[in-house]
């Protein structure tokens, strides 16, 4: 009211009262909805926080591992081999080679545990009585290989003393980290009493320390020497699969989306294809694994456990994601832009490639990265094509046997050495999640960057 004189407060009419009554009801329902939303978000965030704290709490200790710093003497008396052969003048290359091989065989046949036992005895305090069996429970079983390799690589070590950083065994690692209840009696302990006593002394005098576990990233999986089990093999396997997925799924997915959206005539057939692609996105991933086993391995005879086959299966799984996202991005392009191009006499292809695609590029890129990240985390289909095999080598090519990061997590989770592998499993989960976060961060970064430029 803009009257000069302030109007007297009017009695609310019947109609106003009706509106007020309905208002109260509307505000109430709005309030309830808002509260429910907040509760839902809190619950979701709570579970995510719970998951992360659990994984971090269990996984972080695995990044440090009990490491044994030993001075190892390559005592000629214990080793008892001749010095490494040297090529003598006039000796043929074949003869020298044969001599070298013979020497290496001799070195390999040695019981290198004797060398380690001697070094351990040296490291133990004066007069500490312990049998060699209990002594050898301290280093991981691969210690003798480490020492042997060092000797083969440098035969001049004979008679010298060299400092080695050897991994302590999984049981010692558990004991040092306090994962084993010290109050349990001997019959239920995994380490003999003497060993436990010596470990405590070695920790005290700094021979055993908690070092950063580089082996987690550089080693392959291991069962004989669990303390040396690492993710390098699984990481390379995953990397090869991602390469296959990117090389195949991205061009095929984007091309089919463009064709279906921009060029294909609208017909019953294209409708059917569209419905099928949408359904394909909802097919359980394990079915893709069955398909991979039946088609790629049985029919085409591709090798089992190979990242190539894994990549092909994941490509099939990722395609619908990429196609659907790309089509959605293409649909979102304003008709004005298309008309502008067509009105100037651009052909359909020119319109798509000069104007529509550049605009949708950020969305397509994000969809692709998210699809690839999804594929990276996929486990079930890989189980059916043999990628859950125990592979103790780093794959050199996509057709070598390999496993993948999520499958490695699955394998470690099921490892019988629970006490030790629980932490490893969580550490592997952290590595996988780290990769996922990295991929998503790249997607977000590229998206904002490209969108700002456009």
């Amino acid at each position: 009211m803009t009257d000069q004189t302030a109007p007297a407060a009017k009695q609310p009419t019947q109609r106003t009262l009706q509106i007020r009554a309905s208002l109260r009801r509307r505000h109430l329902s709005e309030q309830i909805f808002r509260i429910m939303g907040i509760i839902a978000i809190c619950a979701a965030l709570g579970f995510v926080a719970l998951l992360f704290t659990d994984v971090l709490r269990k996984g972080i200790p695995a990044f440090h591992q009990a490491t044994l710093h030993l001075d190892i003497t390559f005592d000629p008396e214990i080793i008892g081999v001749d010095p490494a052969p040297v090529q003598i003048a006039g000796q043929s290359a074949a003869d020298f080679n044969a001599a070298q091989l013979a020497w290496q065989r001799n070195v390999a046949m040695l019981n290198w545990n004797n060398v380690i036992t001697a070094a351990m005895t040296e490291a133990a305090p004066e007069g500490f009585e312990i049998d060699s069996r209990a002594l050898l429970a301290i280093p991981e079983t691969n210690a003798r290989h480490v020492v042997r390799e060092a000797f083969v690589a440098d035969p001049s070590l004979l008679g010298q003393t060299h400092r080695f950083d050897l991994l302590a065994s999984a049981n010692v690692d558990n004991w040092v980290k306090g994962n084993i209840d010290r109050s349990l009696d001997d019959s239920r302990q995994q380490l003999p009493a003497d060993t436990r006593g010596l470990v405590d002394i070695l920790v005290e005098n700094g021979t055993i320390t908690q070092d950063f576990a580089w082996g987690l990233f550089t080693n392959v999986d291991s069962r004989a020497a669990p303390a040396s089990a690492g993710l390098a093999g699984a990481f390379m396997g995953s990397l090869y699969m991602m390469l296959v997925v990117i090389v195949l799924a991205v061009p095929i997915g984007v091309a089919s989306a463009i064709y279906l959206e921009e060029f294909a005539p609208k017909s019953r057939l294209t409708d059917l294809i569209e419905v099928n692609i949408n359904n394909l996105a909802a097919v359980p991933s394990i079915v893709f694994g069955l398909l991979g086993a039946a088609v790629f391995i049985n029919f085409f005879g591709l090798p089992r456990s190979a990242p190539l086959v894994g990549g092909l299966v994941l490509t099939l799984m990722t395609l619908p994601t990429i196609i659907i996202a790309t089509r959605a991005a293409l649909q979102a392009v304003s008709p004005a832009l298309r008309q502008a191009a067509l009105g100037l006499g651009a052909s359909k292809t020119q319109m798509v490639f000069h104007h529509v695609l550049p605009v949708t590029f950020p969305s397509i890129l994000t969809a692709t990265i998210i699809g690839v990240a999804q594929a990276l985390g996929e486990t079930a289909p890989l189980l059916l094509i043999g990628m859950n095999a125990f592979v103790a080598s780093i794959p050199g090519s996509p057709v070598d046997q390999a496993t993948a990061l999520p499958v490695q997590i699955f394998l470690w989770q099921g490892n019988e050495n629970r006490n030790f592998f629980e932490a490893r499993t969580s550490a592997a989960i952290m590595v996988l999640l780290g990769l996922m976060i990295l991929l998503n961060a790249v997607a977000i970064f590229l998206r904002t960057r490209l969108e700002r430029r456009a």
Binding site: K266, S334, A336, L337, Q339, A340, L342, G343, A346, S347
Partner: protein, 286 residues
Amino acid sequence: MTNTENAKMDMVASKIMTTQQSVSAAMNPIDSLERQLRLTARDVTVHYGAKQALHGISIDIPDRAVTSFIGPSGCGKSTFLRCINRMNDTIEGARVGGTIKLDGEDIYDPSLDVVELRARIGMVFQKPNPFPKSIFDNVAYGPRIHGLAKSKADLEEIVVSSLRKAGLFEEVKDRLSEPGTGLSGGQQQRLCIARAIAVGPEVILMDEPCSALDPIATAIIEELIDELRENYTIVIVTHSMQQAARVSQKTAFFHLGNLIEHGDTEDIFTNPVNKQTQDYIMGRIG
């Protein structure tokens, strides 16, 4: 439309043509071929699926003049405009019947390349729609795809002269590399006109080019249309009768998919024959 009306219309059109020709011949004696250019539409119908949007439109559009299509919303004026450069082809389920001839050549002839047609008949849309590229690239795009420039210098010349003709060059000459989407609405629309001119079209179709602009930008565009008339055949769809009166020499009134009346703008506005035209112009319908 009856036969007598048709004949009358033809007569009027040809009369206009001759005066137009003599005027432009005096101004530009070199382009004697182009002056014969004109559009003829006969019994043009458009169906969108089952719905008929245009009922037999027949009209002649003279060279080097502005023809405006007026009428209430949904009367088919934009639909007819989009038939002229076959933009209706891009709409799912649209069917066009009848004939439209450009210089006596049927533009719906299957042997005719629609890309070539659209290079000859440029279009400016209702909402300014510059490409999300630089001002230069916006104008250069058409010449590039049609291979009109032989060298970089050639291309630059086309861009500058097109911007000049669109009356935009002075305002943007220092920022040709900046995005075209950063200009004001009116400037964007002039950029779109420059972009259309750069291809060297013979006809320019404008679909309510000022409906998204403020009065000042509108006035500038109208002036520009008046200048462009000397070199191009212009067809403009407009909601504003004042605009039709200001910029056009010929006016056609559409209603419910029918062409009700067309003729000289002056006649339509001062002395409409048809009752519906009269009502519309008086503001009683629409």
